[in-house]
């Protein structure tokens, strides 16, 4: 298909998740005090996959939660469409925990900014580490990810589309040229 290329396939995605899980454990010297929080929608499933990997590697079940940041966004005034809100689900205490915040694509950094504000309303974690599947550049805020699955330099006319079987029909990462699609 013109204007749309598959950058990572399903085996590749699995390898990336395996590597990132090891990096998380290495960086934190094990799984003690770690909690995973995925950002809706695809970050949620990505976090669940990392959770499974860590369970395989260390045989521990980390606390895992879901964060919806809609209410913290700064673009209400700019957007024409009203974003649909859904429910955050963090049932454990995040105080003094090392929080691994998981999302699919890191772009301007504004979603992560909202997530940081949202997390602060749940408590005061010891640290927040950002785990991102694709870093596509073009940051507008001073935000950096600890764990990056893949760096894909993009232009503003391109879009990264992460697909996951939980919500889409396949596991893959696509680079889409908006002008050419």
């Amino acid at each position: 298909m013109k204007g749309k290329s598959k950058i990572v396939d399903s085996e590749g995605l699995d390898r990336i998740i395996t590597r990132m899980s090891h990096e998380i454990l290495e960086h934190n010297k094990g799984s003690k005090n770690l909690v995973l929080i995925g950002m809706r929608t695809r970050g949620e499933f990505l976090a669940k996959r990392i959770w499974n990997k860590i369970k395989e590697i260390e045989n521990v079940e980390l606390p895992i939660g879901v964060l919806d940041v809609t209410l913290y966004r700064d673009d209400f005034r700019k957007r024409l469409k009203q974003p649909e809100v859904s429910v955050s689900n963090i049932t454990f205490d995040i105080n003094d925990k090392n929080v691994i915040l998981v999302d699919d694509v890191l772009y301007t950094g504004r979603t992560v900014r909202s997530a940081l504000n949202a997390l602060m309303d749940f408590g005061r974690p010891a640290s927040i580490q950002l785990c991102i599947l694709v870093d596509r550049g073009h940051r507008e805020l001073p935000i950096r990810a600890e764990y990056v699955g893949k760096n894909i330099p993009t232009s503003q006319n391109e879009e990264i589309k992460v697909k996951m079987t939980e919500v889409d029909n396949e596991d893959a990462i696509f680079l889409i040229d908006i002008n050419n699609e």
Binding site: L71, S86, D121
Partner: protein
């Protein structure tokens, strides 16, 4: 997908999708209310005036909390101690308040149609918090939210509204909303308090409270509004309590399970006996909690579109 209107004046004619959206959105805010910090920055920088020309505890506090938990700036206006007592007209008061740059107005007034009038003289988003004997949409929305929370659905349920149907804005909003959502609605009360053409709205009229208990899943029991001269419509309060009041003996005589709702404030011993008002059938305080979440949802949905 935003709501189809930029005001919430009533539930008459409001499409099912809008009600559904408000109830779904309220679920998010219900979760916010369970957090250690019950506040989100969503309406930061918005100014909301609560314009209450009639006394209110629950609704006003509920709206004020909802506004504060969305980080909006909330201003309260009540008639006593305002320039209304100096003879300023309603329109002048509004024009002056609007000149101070407000984004949304929550209004309660004894005259039906006040919120509609406001939409014609102001650019703010208007939310009806009760206008005379017309509508009280957020109360009906929180009632429907509470029903959905309890039963997991609204469609197909049988709901009976009990009491002074003719002078109740809560009843009217509930009838419009519940019928839109597919519930089967009936009303029950003394014949003097049932409006003549109420059946045209698609509701069934029941004059016997025992029958109402037997046939319904939910009773939404209204307050007998003694301040609105309700006494003129029946011989005595004791007689009303005897024929339409709900107490344990009456429930046990008639039925296995039923859910009792009440918009508050309760006249204990009149429409509900104390042991029912505090008993296992009622969800009255859940209604109050849900009220904040539902009002946050309405403010969010109206306040974040241009």
């Amino acid at each position: 997908m935003p709501l189809s209107s930029r005001h919430l004046l009533g539930l008459q004619g409001v499409p099912k999708e809008d009600i559904q959206l408000i109830l779904d959105t309220a679920l998010t805010f219900r979760e916010v209310l369970e957090r250690p910090i019950k506040k989100v920055p969503t309406l930061q920088g918005k100014t909301i005036v609560n314009l209450f020309y009639e006394s209110s505890t629950r609704t006003r506090i509920s709206f004020e909390l909802a506004e504060k938990r969305l980080s909006a700036d909330a201003i309260n206006f009540s008639v006593s101690g305002s320039s209304v007592s100096k003879g300023e007209t309603f329109k002048d008061t509004i024009k002056n308040i609007e000149a101070m740059k407000v984004d949304m107005v929550v209004v309660r007034h004894a005259a039906a149609g006040t919120p509609l009038f406001l939409t014609k003289i102001s650019n703010a988003n208007i939310i009806n918090a009760g206008d005379g004997i017309h509508e009280h949409p957020t109360q009906a929305l929180l009632d429907m939210y509470s029903i959905r929370e309890k039963f997991g659905k609204i469609a197909g349920l049988k709901v009976c509204i009990v009491g002074d149907i003719a002078h109740s804005r809560v009843a009217l909003s509930n009838i419009f909303g519940l019928i839109t959502m597919g519930a089967k609605v009936s009303v029950c009360g003394p014949s003097t308090m049932i409006p003549k053409y109420i059946e045209d709205l698609g509701v069934q009229v029941i004059y016997n409270i025992d029958e109402a208990i037997q046939e319904n899943d939910i009773l939404n029991v209204l307050r007998i509004q003694l301040e609105r001269k309700a006494r003129e419509y029946f011989p005595s309060i004791r007689e009303y309590a005897k024929y339409f009041g709900i107490d344990r003996a009456r429930l046990e005589k008639n039925k296995k399970s039923i859910v009792i709702m009440h918009p508050g404030p309760i006249n204990r011993g009149v429409e509900l006996s104390s042991d029912i008002a505090d008993g296992e059938h009622q969800i009255i305080l859940q209604q109050v909690t849900n009220g904040v979440a539902v009002r946050m949802a309405v403010l969010y949905l109206l306040g974040t579109v241009n």
